[in-house]
Symmetry: C2
Subunit: 112 residues, 2 copies
Amino acid sequence: MTLAVNMISGKWKLFILYGLRDGEKRYSELRRICEGITEKMLTNQLRELEKDGLIKRKVYPQVPPKVEYSFTEIGERLSFMFDPLYNWGLDYIKEKRPEQYHLVKQYEKTSH
Amino acid sequence: MTLAVNMISGKWKLFILYGLRDGEKRYSELRRICEGITEKMLTNQLRELEKDGLIKRKVYPQVPPKVEYSFTEIGERLSFMFDPLYNWGLDYIKEKRPEQYHLVKQYEKTSH
DNA sequence: TATGGTACATACCAATTAGTTAGTTTTGTT
DNA sequence: AACAAAACTAACTAATTGGTATGTACCATA
């Protein structure tokens, strides 16, 4: 439990993983997905996730550079929690902050 | 997702919630379950979980005092993730740190 | 009289984490 | 000639989080 919690804790890691759930993503795509993250943080967190073996990094030798991130096998096995966790959050907002609920619903439309 | 992640992140929150998964627990029981936690941190984290509505607090007017913590309804709905997350951690250790695997298995026997 | 158990609170300090700002590289575009 | 794009790195600062140490109330027991 300690190990699992440590690997996914931090302000951005679950977002990054969540962003990867439907396949590989470029650095700049992740930057857009993780609204508000700084480049430093994105790089840091990607490095840690890579070091821990949850994601892998594929570099295309081009200019301008292109780097793609995706799950490793064991990283992908964390997918079980993304949708339930997202839905739990939705339920929570519905119950505890009903005034905000419609905002989230609107946001859902624009972002997918 | 932001909301859900914020509520369960922190060095101890998931342990506390994990500790409550089989029913209400006293303060001192949680202290034993969360090996290494200080009283300050335990109290802090319990207060935050309570403020967020994930757990509830029941005080028995006795001396010495007795306080029991348990899930609220929405808190309990996070249970879906505890066992899978624990097992994911186990798998991770099995794959990436096989030398440590037997230690965990031994620990499992003693603690339940 | 001293000690212990329970569930805290408070003050202060250390460590960890996150944010800001600026720069790098190479090529292509205006 | 200036600037933009992508994926970074480095130096520095701010904010958050966690730890240590000590104290409290009340009663019971040694």
